[in-house]
Amino acid sequence: MIATLAATKRRMELEAPDRFRPVVDHDLCRKCKKCVTECSFRALEFVDGAVKPIGGCVACGRCINVCPAHCIEVRQIQSMFPPHANFNEHVRRGIMSQATTGGVLLTSCGTDIPYPVMFDEMLLDAAQVTNPAIDPLRETVETATFVGGRKGFLEVKESGRLYMEKEPGPMVAMDMPIMIGHISLGSVSYNAQKALFAAAKELNILAGSGEGGLHKDFNIYSQNVVSEVASGRFGVTGDYLKRTAAVEIKIGQGAKPGHGGHLPGEKVSALISQTRMIPLGTDALSPYPHHDIYSIEDLQQLISVVKEATEYKVPIGVKIAAVHNVGAIASGIVRAGADFITIDGFRGGTGSTPRIIRDHVGLPIEVAISVVDQRLTKEGLRNRVTVFAGGSIRSSADMIKAIALGADAVMVCTAALVAMGCRVCQQCHRGVCSWGIATQREELVARLDPEVGAARVVRLLRSWNEELKEILGAMGIDSVESLVGNRDRLRYFGPNSKIAEIMGVKHVGEGWG
């Protein structure tokens, strides 16, 4: 009843005004209409012999980049709202939109609220006098990372033979401590996923499949893919589990802890339907919890059944969103038999999430990594797992600080998409991504050349790895493994020393003694 009322009595003047407007310099414009055809948000029109904005611009920047005359700019429309620090524009726009549609506000990417970023409040150490720095261009600085549990202890017997109390579990080697995160086919296009997988193969690192199954064309990359078992079990078959390098059971995602997935029917194209093994055009709903997991003991069973399914040949991990009790949960996950844990901080990205959850639920990854590392170390469990950390790793600096805080490797998603053209306009859930990334429309998907995309991701991550080597060398460390959990090489340089205390990081100015 309320919905009908809202629909019939819609009043334009009560709706939120546009935030951006494309501005065309008509003196320079060649009237090629390229911007009009390329704008998938339909914010431009060619009328009366000129390109004109017609509303709906999201500042994706496509028109700017395709304009041969370089005559378009996108302006942020300012001073539309009377200034008010408390009822700020963000808040008022939310109210206006919800009063119009009555829905739960959807959004994409990671949170855009300016919460403090602890990565930016920490400084790294370097070697001076008392320990020598290493020149990574002339000496070996090892960045290879092994994914899997380091179970048991190696012992040298009197006979000179090596003994292990337990059989070592399966391990996967990566050339750098980076994994391309789980971005499903469905949330992104075929070309985008292909580019990410091809980059992972080229770099000899892992890339996540996301929960959308693995397309048959991508079998050639399966040795670089971590297949995901999420609550919807889309595309999960025995074969899918067996042919990939590792399997990850997804419990939660940083951008939407405690929330399931919801791929709207419009995005369930023939290709998605085939890969996810669901009917065409229906909503692909991932239940909020796994209905076979209501406890750590249940999780242990799902881990065990996947280990049985893969005949103990690949590492099995569990991904959780960083939440308040993350240390205890991680401890339970290790005890349940996981070979790796992925912790996803609250600033992590997504192809679709309720804004209320993205912006207000979870824990920053910096704190989560350190809390988990400290807890697992204290309980004597840290060696049993590889810890991945994700949730807005924007640069090699974030990566290096995450590792120093206690992660073995990081998970990179948004940065890899930005490398392929993404402008973080936060419209993924609308399925009309003008860069051919977060869309299933064929004409838009074709805009992304997988080879070009892969090459750009490869260059980005290689350069990060080089920067990692530079920092390791400067610290006098010759292997990234020696940086893991080395919080003594970090100093906190922010306003809240309580956070530093929780992270186990000393304040700037404090020495080693």
Binding site: T107, H291, A309, R430
Partner: protein
Amino acid sequence: MTAFDVWGERKRAEAFDPATAIERKDGCVVIHADRRDHEGRLVHYKVLNQLIRQIMAEGERHIILEGVMGHRYIASTANRKDVYIEIRGTPGNNLGAFLDGPTIEVFGNAQDMTGNTMNSGKIVVHGNAWDVTGLAARGGTLLIKGNTGYRVGIHMKEFGGTRPAMVIGGTSKDYLGEYMAGGTIIVLDLDCQDDRSPVGMHLGAGIHGGKIFIRGKVEAHQLGPGAVMDQVDGEDAPELEALIAEFEQAFGSSVPRYWEEWVKVSPASSRPFSGHYDPTSV
């Protein structure tokens, strides 16, 4: 030669000689799951499942598991259509997980999560199968002679030519067919003694594909959001008839077919939450 002398788990597993548990007769292989090692420990599920995999790889088609005592994950990902596994005793949780082809027949009760994410094949249980039976199944058939527990048939889904089906001879509890996205669930309630409903609350909550047929009474308040209740009509009869005949053949029982005693629960829409969200992205 490996540089490692590995003991611990593997040593324990090898302390038990699998050969003593295997018996070959009349074209089938019998595995005695109730054998114990020299320390009196029951065969571990890892050893049993490894044996089953090995025997299937040898090309055996008829495998009998005797004295199964709660061994978990039996026949997970087994993928040969011509394999028939007969289980005597009580298999543990996650029987036939990711099953893709074989037929498993349990002469006893099954526990939780039977047929988890199965792709194809058939699981027949001559007894009860409890919570979360048939979770996320996307093909194959589950025939349960007795009762089932909570959250049965959650997120069953269909794709292309494959449709999962589950026939329950007895009753089921809350959340039957929650999030269901395809396939068919039938609840027969053959031992019905009174006029209580054979299913619990939140029936078909969030259902957006598939159908649930129930022989007996269902009140409107038992339905979950997104589910609608209807009479069984002539269109449904052939599908029901085929599955019921399969059930009758498996258990030698007879099912009354007075369709007026039945109800059908189906989705109100294939897009249950389409109006729930505001995609404006402010």
